[in-house]
């Protein structure tokens, strides 16, 4: 199948905005590098979310004003951030105690592939000359209660990223709860991929065609959380 930049589907910011809608008030949230980083900007007014960055900060705020950043106040993507009132700094072992110990409510990550059983592959394509690099991804999926993924529905060459079984090395087995793509919101259930919501201009057949596993049609509770 080919994928020539379809006019349909959500932009990166729209995907982030959609994911932001599902974040409950008062949550402790870790956002992965890339599109997930955009989510913070779209959390609705009146919802207080506390952002954790695994390099040692709870209460992370947005990027600093130009010229006001500190190269030693960064996020996990190594970009400069700010610390909000009520923030706390801590060391790496304490930070991953929060993660591994189940204290972070939800995490939004990028993905290379997600399987219909919720397996996530997001750290390595397994290419022989690639430099293996895992960072904190395996700790996050092993420890955070709810793992959500934001990803383009297909690769640049049009291959499905939602698959029956991941061909890339796993970050963790059976960990993903919900997936936000440019085409749809999809839950991972014991029955596999469950369509929750379609982007404007696409239908089930269109999304199914671009998905590597069966997609259950929208059920009775389309906006249920994971």
């Amino acid at each position: 199948m080919t994928n020539s930049s379809p006019a349909v589907g959500l932009t990166r910011d729209e995907m982030a905005q959609r994911a932001a809608l599902d974040i409950p008030d008062g949550s402790y949230v870790n956002l992965g590098i890339g599109i997930p980083e955009l989510v913070a900007a779209y959390v609705p007014e009146g919802t207080e979310v506390i952002y954790h960055t695994e390099n040692g900060l709870l209460g992370m705020g947005p990027s600093p004003q130009p010229g006001l950043g500190d190269p030693e106040l960064i996020n996990a993507g190594k970009r400069q951030v700010t610390a909000l009132d009520g923030a706390a700094f801590f060391h790496h072992a304490d930070s991953f105690a929060m993660i591994r110990g189940g204290h972070i409510d939800l995490c939004v990550l990028g993905a290379l592939q997600v399987s219909e059983s919720g397996d996530l592959a997001n750290w390595s394509t397994g290419a022989p000359d690639a430099i293996p690099a895992v960072g904190g991804a395996m700790d996050l999926v092993a420890g955070v209660r709810s793992i959500r993924v934001i990803t383009q529905h297909t690769t640049r060459s049009g291959e499905p990223k939602l698959v029956k079984s991941c061909s890339y090395p796993l970050t963790g087995p059976a960990v993903v709860g919900r997936i936000y793509t440019d085409l749809a919101v999809i839950d991972v259930t014991s029955d596999g991929f469950q369509l929750v919501e379609l982007a404007a201009g696409v239908d089930l057949a269109y999304v199914q065609e671009r998905t590597g596993a069966d997609l259950k049609p929208i059920a009775i509770h389309p906006h249920g959380g994971d």
Partner: protein, 236 residues
């Protein structure tokens, strides 16, 4: 808006259930959340497993909770101290169970519980009666025992200052077990001597980040256990 404050100790401990495991901060009287414990006595939960370094003194605080018959089992390192008579009497008459844990192992087990570590190896207790029943294993040229992470349904702890997000700082050696207990409990309830708005605590100096805290009650002038014992107070 996140606001973890409660109007009083009674509402903060309202959900403690019969049979719960309750981690109670403090080393002797330092850091003992006396007002929260008294609220728990009033609340009535029973068959509790309580984790504390000691067993309280006199007939106030933890000793009063034990005396009221609410504690089925104590997990601690040093169950006898000056002015500690309640626990020894119940223990000798077989009315309360004791799990004796070396102090450092107790602290590490609680930290492990809070950090998602199910078990770890430690040299402490090897070659002593407390190794009995524990799995042993050698690493390098030394023997170790396997110890398990310890978690609680609730933690009751005392802080010096808190904010509405649950960020905490402590007073001197009143810190002791409280930061790890806050990590290890499903629900952590704090009595704080002062409340400040977020930003009122230096983010570099926060000891317990709010993520580990569920409920905060302002108790501006907490009682000192030793003063109550000296006055002969018996709670309730």
């Amino acid at each position: 808006m996140i606001d973890k404050t409660h109007p009083d100790a009674a509402s903060a401990v309202a959900d403690v259930f019969d049979g719960a495991t309750v981690l109670i901060g403090g080393f002797g009287e330092a850091g003992s959340p006396v007002e929260l414990i008294h609220a728990l006595i009033d609340q009535g939960a029973k068959d509790l497993t309580v984790v504390n370094n000691n067993t309280g003194s006199g007939e106030v605080g933890l000793a009063a909770l034990i005396k009221a018959g609410r504690v089925a089992k104590m997990v601690c390192s040093y169950p006898r101290t000056a002015n500690s008579t309640v626990f020894p009497e119940l223990y000798r008459s077989g009315k309360i169970e004791l799990e004796l844990v070396p102090q450092g192992t107790l602290a590490e087990r609680i930290r492990a519980g809070g950090a998602g570590i199910p078990a770890f190896y430690t040299p402490t207790s090897v070659g002593t009666p407390l190794e009995v029943g524990k799995e042993k294993r050698s690493f390098g040229d030394r023997d170790y025992v396997l110890e398990y992470g310890l978690t609680g349904d609730f933690a009751l702890i005392k802080a010096k200052t808190a904010d509405r997000l649950g960020n905490l700082v402590y007073n001197k050696t009143a810190r002791n077990f409280s930061p790890v207990m806050a990590m290890a409990a499903a629900t952590t309830i704090v009595q704080a001597g002062a409340l400040v708005t977020p930003g009122g605590l230096d983010p570099e100096a926060v000891v317990t980040p709010g993520i580990f805290v569920d409920s905060v009650v302002l108790v501006p002038d907490p009682e000192h256990e030793s003063v109550l014992v000296e006055r002969g107070v018996s709670y309730p």
